[in-house]
């Protein structure tokens, strides 16, 4: 057996791949579900916090900054473990899936709040003043003038952050979520062959490449002629 054959036999073993394909595919479905839930709830919550923060209510802002800094600094794995093993002591028993979703949504919320907030504060004061001088309310100014400009700046960092955090769905393995990496590594131990891991890697690329492309597309949509 040549070294090349040995390599393909180890990492791209057709028989093993075929056998574990259904497991990997079911993992893909779980990862997609988890990722969508995290992205939608995490970004929505982050935007909501940034909007709340723009109201400039001081004690509320202290709270927001504290929560955001906390979830930005804690390792996501720790949050998952805390929720999964900690909440049962207050008579809540979230599944591994729910624990992973909540944890990563909280982390994405924290990062996206900071990104949205940076976008909002980057809009010049003159924009607020011009809009308010024509009689637009605070909310109307925020929605029609400030946020459209803020979003344009937030899309690239938000796309990066979203991808980084949704890849963290792999951490769900520690609380028995059968997502891609969980399926791949159990297949790997069952077959004594790392080929399922390669399939898992391929699945991640197939899943996340469109997200990157979509991010670029949104970026061009939010650009304006200058």
């Amino acid at each position: 057996m040549s070294s090349w054959d040995r390599f393909t036999d180890t990492f791209f073993n057709g028989k093993v791949m075929l056998r574990y394909l259904p497991d990997i595919l079911s993992g893909v479905v779980v990862t997609i579900e988890l990722a969508l839930l995290i992205v939608v709830t995490g970004i929505a919550a982050g935007l909501a916090l940034a909007l709340l923060r723009s109201l400039a209510i001081r004690p509320l802002n202290w709270l927001i900054v504290f929560v955001v800094d906390l979830f930005r600094s804690l390792p996501p794995l720790v949050i998952i473990v805390l929720i999964y093993f900690g909440l049962p002591s207050v008579d809540l028993s979230p599944s591994g899936f729910v624990s992973t979703w909540l944890s990563l949504a909280l982390v994405l919320m924290a990062f996206s709040e900071e990104i949205f907030w940076a976008g909002i504060t980057s809009v010049a004061r003159g924009q607020w003043e011009a809009a308010r001088s024509t009689g637009l309310s605070f909310g109307q100014t925020l929605m029609n003038v400030v946020l459209p400009q803020a979003f344009r700046l937030t899309i690239p960092p938000l796309t990066n952050r979203t991808i980084a955090i949704t890849k963290g769905t792999a951490l769900g393995t520690v609380v028995a979520v059968t997502e891609i990496l969980g399926q791949a590594s159990s297949a790997m131990s069952n077959s004594y062959n790392p080929s399922p891991l390669m399939m898992g890697a391929a699945a991640y690329v197939v899943l996340f490449l469109p997200v990157v492309v979509a991010g670029r597309w949104i970026e061009t949509r939010f650009a304006w002629k200058r």
Binding site: G126, Q127, A131, T134, G135, L136, K225
Partner: protein, 247 residues
Amino acid sequence: MQLTPIVDARGLHKHFGALHVLKGVDLRVAERELVFVIGPSGSGKSTLLRCLNRLEEPSSGSVVVDGIDMLDPRTDINHARQRIGMVFQSFNLYPHMTALGNVTLALRKVAGQSRARAEALGHAALERVGLADRAGHTPGQLSGGQQQRVAIARAIALEPRVMLFDEPTSALDPELVGSVLEVMRSLRESGMTMIVVSHEMGFARNAADRVLFMDEGVIVEQGPPAAIFESPAHERTRAFIGQIQRH
């Protein structure tokens, strides 16, 4: 002045922390009057203007515009601001909208006009500033002078009773100043009440009814342009006007 003034500000004080920017300013402006405010930077001219539509909250005093007490907490400030147009030094157009979008936003959201009606009014306002053919351009595609004229159109589209100009030509290249002053002159001819903070002395001389000289938070003196420019009563006014005219 016999008429009730359209702008009536009394005893205005404004503090920014330890800084006392306005020290008891009274300003009464009659309908159709064009009042010019000059003075060194930091004299409080812009702050005075911004107190009139409450972009800046006066520390004390009263502001009544077109019969509306601007400082009364019961006043619907957003409604009141429709009557007071404002033009800024740095234009402050919305970069993500076309010229027409800039002009129609408040018409739709504040004045409650339908999109079609707002666009008709918006086109008419752009026509008045000579930019009917630029309706579909974004600010980035317009020169500074054109941007400032769109900003004027944005304000006059709401049919304000008073227009405030905060150094409208200071950020413009010299060759673009004329087109903006031209629009202001035609606005004046249409009978618009205007309060203008600016150093365009030529414009002040032939368009203003009254010139105020401000320094260190007070109105030092005021009068017809000829009197202020040719025979100012105060030493500080004389020094300032001498400085400006040397340029």
